[in-house]
Symmetry: D2
Subunit: 363 residues, 4 copies
Amino acid sequence: MRNSFGNRITVTLFGESHGEYIGAVLDGLPAGLNIDLDFIKDRLNLRKGEKEFSTARNENDDFKIISGAYNNFTTGSPLCIVIKNQDARPSDYGDCLTSLRPSHSDYTAHIKYGGFEDFHGGGHLSGRLTAPIVAAAAILIPALKAKGIEIGSHILRCGDICDREFENVKEDISALYSMPFAVLDSTVKSKMQEKILELKKEGDSIGGAVETAVIGLPCGIGEPYFDSTESMLSHAVFSIPAVKGIEFGLGFDFAKTTGSKANDAFCICDNRIITSTNNSGGINGGISNGMPIIFKTAIRPTPTISKEQNTVNIKTGENVKVAFSGRHDPFIVHKAVSVINAVTAITLADLLSENYGTDWLVK
Amino acid sequence: MRNSFGNRITVTLFGESHGEYIGAVLDGLPAGLNIDLDFIKDRLNLRKGEKEFSTARNENDDFKIISGAYNNFTTGSPLCIVIKNQDARPSDYGDCLTSLRPSHSDYTAHIKYGGFEDFHGGGHLSGRLTAPIVAAAAILIPALKAKGIEIGSHILRCGDICDREFENVKEDISALYSMPFAVLDSTVKSKMQEKILELKKEGDSIGGAVETAVIGLPCGIGEPYFDSTESMLSHAVFSIPAVKGIEFGLGFDFAKTTGSKANDAFCICDNRIITSTNNSGGINGGISNGMPIIFKTAIRPTPTISKEQNTVNIKTGENVKVAFSGRHDPFIVHKAVSVINAVTAITLADLLSENYGTDWLVK
Amino acid sequence: MRNSFGNRITVTLFGESHGEYIGAVLDGLPAGLNIDLDFIKDRLNLRKGEKEFSTARNENDDFKIISGAYNNFTTGSPLCIVIKNQDARPSDYGDCLTSLRPSHSDYTAHIKYGGFEDFHGGGHLSGRLTAPIVAAAAILIPALKAKGIEIGSHILRCGDICDREFENVKEDISALYSMPFAVLDSTVKSKMQEKILELKKEGDSIGGAVETAVIGLPCGIGEPYFDSTESMLSHAVFSIPAVKGIEFGLGFDFAKTTGSKANDAFCICDNRIITSTNNSGGINGGISNGMPIIFKTAIRPTPTISKEQNTVNIKTGENVKVAFSGRHDPFIVHKAVSVINAVTAITLADLLSENYGTDWLVK
Amino acid sequence: MRNSFGNRITVTLFGESHGEYIGAVLDGLPAGLNIDLDFIKDRLNLRKGEKEFSTARNENDDFKIISGAYNNFTTGSPLCIVIKNQDARPSDYGDCLTSLRPSHSDYTAHIKYGGFEDFHGGGHLSGRLTAPIVAAAAILIPALKAKGIEIGSHILRCGDICDREFENVKEDISALYSMPFAVLDSTVKSKMQEKILELKKEGDSIGGAVETAVIGLPCGIGEPYFDSTESMLSHAVFSIPAVKGIEFGLGFDFAKTTGSKANDAFCICDNRIITSTNNSGGINGGISNGMPIIFKTAIRPTPTISKEQNTVNIKTGENVKVAFSGRHDPFIVHKAVSVINAVTAITLADLLSENYGTDWLVK
């Protein structure tokens, strides 16, 4: 199915940036999972990032679970969650598509959907659709945590400014828990934010990278060939707009090294088999090995900028120069942090259910 | 389904490294697709790489299509292709799993399958299983070519030695067509090969990277959210053993740049809309934009090496030092080139069929 | 996915009988399909049946398409349609499940969902959920009709009172088009209705059968083994509550006859290959043969009745006698007519798209 | 996927009637399931029926498991089972399709596959393909039995001759266990067989019906809407060639009765909730209720007969009269018994795994 993800626990996404509602259907949940509405609200708030570094669009993200829950417990029926678009302004985008935003989906969606797409603000292809993803994941995250599985991400890079990498993964994840602008080294935060404000002033945007860690995932999760942990996580992560790269463990640095240096030696430690290094990022042969899952995600700079650019007016068929004026984000990496955590939670919940059925979510 | 890939055209993989047969079922093919047996044979031969730089295992890869074809045309029924393992030597691996190969799937498979896995040479998780993937893709590649869609990959990097990147993509793809050790800059080949032989002598292995290009893919392929072109390609590519990273277009370099520099300006050229740069790697908003698809894949060094390593004997539960003696590859990146081309072909054939149905394959 | 149907065009259903909304997500639609809101309203009204013979629950079935459409054309993104429950009265069902309605899903849902189900009026398992199915189908029916494919159903039987079978299929379908109590022989209508009112008075209900015909379906639709036209239609039809049997063409009468009598002879007629009889109900080897598809569906009497019955109080664990007092239908077969038409439309649209892609819906 | 069935445990079928091999891939099995090769052989033998009443084609059904098993235990990887066609005689069917067998898939497959189908003996659409289904099910049946779930079917009807229905279901299933011509009332066997031989002599065939019972299925299996137990079983059963009807419990007799008569009263018996009658055939609201599952299947007479029939020669485009001379079955209902048991086992194993994961198969 085109707009669904997951084999055992499935998310189907719907809605448009400037429509009345956006939402998701979460199917395959067991009955009896307690839903924490405040936690969902918190996660939606975190996704908005710090206001100063984000779009001027003002959305409360008021959500409503319209099916699949009764007295704040899942019923085992499909759970539909809807979020109202309160600050939609389709008129910002005019009556029809004119100048294509470079590197945006304006053009590809227009060709794919033959002009029938709801082009306002990217329509279905907007980053706004990540809100229901975050809401859906917020239903699963407490169940993962109850099994000792925790997920954390931070802004590893904003242009040339880098955060430190994960060190003590458990502590680092805890520290990141409710940061709207998540960095491990607090000294880099202001540097990044200065950079962003500088670019915002110039009408430009800047890219970055996110590092994600997962602890507590048992050994044996993921399928060899096709539904490997890396395949499923990358599938989910690349569905987030603006993601252009992913690497696990050493990632592209593996290309430069030898087997004898890259291999993670096994050893017995406290009667458990662990590896003395974690270059593999917690995955061998596509299957989790019990060490922390570590991956990095590359995020392109937001394509919508107000600096003047060369492009094409698709209505007139002419080369034009345009500076876009709508509301947009100079930086989306701090928001991507929430969404990467969300799709990671959904993917791991799905892979765990592939192994164990779904009862683990409630027992 | 755990061991299948694709929504419209589906590949299901089966077999073990040292079993009697390995194979694949290709389902969803239209009737009337001409099958070129020689081309399949060629592609299987290419996958073996140059002998000197590969495993000593000697496989003819004799294949047989046992269903779904009649007089060398597809019938529209599921096509099953089997390849006999002729040089299987399960005894090389002993009676049961003992010392875990560091960074190999020995351990994760053992935990996942509770000791019932066929552990000889990795069993189902072996790189040997990429042979039926290559065979299945070789049925689709001529149909893609007939539509003007061509795929090529080269060894971008072997340790510190780098090939040049794609320049004139069409010509470059042609040049790579039947190279068993595919590089664009012929001067780097001998340097890479010397490096590999040196590491082979030391009982070590080395990693690398592959760059892949696709030309002729029309604009509009791929789905927003979840089944984006990047999601589907990365899903397929990460199912290849040893892949640890993927990036599209500028990839991780997007993290360091601004929107104004990274954006690909649209322009009208010969009455077609193209982009003047291709930093996006041919994909905007998860949907192909008509420019070449460009991506890079990171390949870890083969974990099986004959140098002594620290590990655990899972039978005795003791920390041990071991040097592995089985047949293995000092370098797999030249073989990965074939497999990446294969999964790219399968993924694109599937995504095209999502848009157009499957009749394009035969018309 | 548990609560979805269809491979190419997929319906995901959500909602509960006495929740705030019920709805469906329709995914896989091409962009540019014109949506006729009045037609959707008409179909929803027809589903309600004639008031006198139906539940006293009073629902307007006001619906809203909250995504996937713009200016009454599909955008190619998932289309979500929601229907407000206006006359929900969960209090009719008490605080918790007590006496199990015999032959109802009260018990099976309670065991399946461990007491977390929304049991009011059957919750997700209610016939109320057929409304979004009818709405979703009403988006596809005009596209099928534009290709010459028409679907009609009538009440073949109400207890012992039988309607005539289809004769001139095309005319019969037209005649049935907007009948809320659909019969081919107008003289049986009042007999059936008298019977129903009599049973209603007694606090009882009555079963029946529906005959369905489809014309215009081209030869070649359906897959051999597993996704045969019969497999897919029966899968869809059995998802309608109260359906307990289905037969195609002669159906169970095939059991009594010989090959020489049952076979449908092929003949050339007006340069087309047709069959001189249609005992096969338009399907050979699971694939449509170009003749009308004909099938019959058995519908059990509504299990909820107000006559006293023996049952168990699941709260106290005692055998009890109960007469149920909620609002319910003495007869649902006239309403099932709409729903069978709807799932038939969805199934055939999906199977056609398997053959042709989805562009046929808009071209 | 077109030629696969099942969500958690998936069967993919391949092969043609007169090709070299037929087979199936069974995916989703847990590791550690013991495979009883003799039991598979027994079930394949039973499927052949009693020789005198079946096709003259002589197949040993020698099978080989070529992947997914090691030392007769499943490994958790896809299990591929192949069966060699030893008595294939494609020359019986000539060089190309000429006279269409009435009510056979000759015509529909020809149109669907545009003349590229392997038409010999029906190719992929042949009843021969039920052999790998039976083999695949024989891997699951012992695991179901270990959980107390047993499946049995008998020839309920052959033309006008009827067997008695199930009474003491457990005993009846045991009695049917290894009958190649399965009837409950031994006195009807010879009557049926006389009838069949009489029709065979006339070059004709005869239809029939099968009744199936399942005991031991726990309450709570099956999903409301779309993947109901009835939807999934009917989907699977209609994939068997020649099936034209299915009914659960009272089935079409529900149409003639009232709620008060049809409802199955709940009662407490030995501290368990059961129903005092089983008109519902063990399913309420699409979900199993713990009582025996009971359904009946209508089987059409084999369309291939040697009596003269009117048909069309598709090569010449002329109306012709033809008597077919190949090897065929005068009666297939005794063989259908095995196949219905097989698809029932596969479907229930899949539905159980939907509820519980797949570990129940090995624990």
